[in-house]
Point group: C2
Chain length 221, copies 2
């Protein structure tokens, strides 16, 4: 499961739940522009908090309401998320999904039903661990631990952190002045942060299949 709470995997959940046909994750802006033209798709991605030059939209989940995104394909460039995706592919993962607080229940139910080994892959920020992805991994561990055997200290650390924070995730991020909280607040994105810490507001299961993310019911077709 790929986790990039602020904001790639939250935005993926929002767009798919609001009816996007599929989301194609790519690692570069150039690739995003190219594919967008070829497929007549919506292009999106940010660099340093701004919409990247040549792309149409940014990384906010609010950008993708149903009246805009329904039935469309979105090409999304995310540096960290795409790197994790390639790692998962090279490890021959049996399935790849993306997770965020927006679709916590959907991903937890899915991995519990699947009864397979699960890796919670946190995107982090420039190869450094971050608070929000760790909190989300902890939320997953907290929900699914009765169904799995968990022998890694990182999971235990993440769960301890989540239990400490769960009463008010946003306040916890604020109190700790998490690095990404700080960064997004400087861009005036408090609304985004609060939204990305709302549980199950887009409770969809994004499945990676043939180079694109689709909502589970679409993947079954």
């Amino acid at each position: 499961m790929i986790i990039d709470v602020l904001r790639a995997t939250s935005t993926i959940a929002a767009a798919l739940h609001n009816g996007a046909k599929s989301i194609i994750p790519v690692d570069s802006v150039a690739e995003c522009i190219k594919l967008g033209k070829q497929m007549e798709a919506v292009t999106a991605g940010e660099r340093d908090g701004q919409i990247a030059e040549g792309l149409e939209y940014g990384n906010s989940p609010f950008t993708y309401p149903a009246e805009f995104i329904k039935g469309k394909t979105l090409v999304l460039t995310t540096t960290n998320g795409t790197k994790l995706l390639h790692m998962a592919l090279s490890e021959n993962a049996k399935g790849i999904i993306t997770g965020s607080f927006s679709n916590l229940s959907a991903v937890c139910n899915y991995i519990t039903e699947q009864k397979q080994n699960v890796i919670l892959a946190c995107a982090a920020w420039k190869d450094r661990v971050n608070l929000e992805d760790t909190l989300f991994a902890g939320a997953v561990v907290n929900r699914i631990k009765e169904s799995f055997s968990i022998n890694c200290d990182a999971s235990k650390i993440a769960e301890t952190l989540y239990v400490e924070a769960e009463d008010d995730l946003y306040e916890f991020m604020k109190k700790k002045n998490a690095s990404h909280y700080h960064r997004l607040m400087n861009f005036g994105l408090e609304k985004d942060i609060r939204y990305c810490f709302t549980i199950d507001n887009h409770n969809v299961l994004p499945l990676y299949k043939d180079g694109r993310l689709v909502a589970k019911q679409d993947a079954m077709n």
Copy 2:
């Protein structure tokens, strides 16, 4: 600061506090045997919880009371700790010290006085984060945070974990069934674990200088 609570840096604190002249960290058993002979030094190190073949002693802090180790040189092989040491050297660290709960106050006082940037380097276990080193890093952050500017989420996670655990560190390790706790308990080493979670029982400052670790007062000579 190099951190390997179970048990390398705890044992280093014990041996230096009990009067060892110096400790030479090496990465291989072969190097340990060779240096031990050349210097007529005590050799120590474990592999998979047993004293490594060809060496004399193990990694327990109880092995090095003053009546045994005073005035002697100890050649110690530790895989994870030595790797971190080489990383610190290649980064041109201005100073290298080792930390454990056994000498928490000594290392915190030292880094606060030095007013330099500090990296808390957790040895972990086979490149995976572990609970005990994270707890110790959190204890350090908790003690020194007023004197430093800290902008990394890992520090905040570690401190949150420590604050949750500080009332009884041993019980926390047990409750979480930390991987290394589990491993050492299987070797009957509960006594070692409890000892390694005792604060300031060997409150010495181990400084790395010219290939060896010495207690601070010795380093000044």
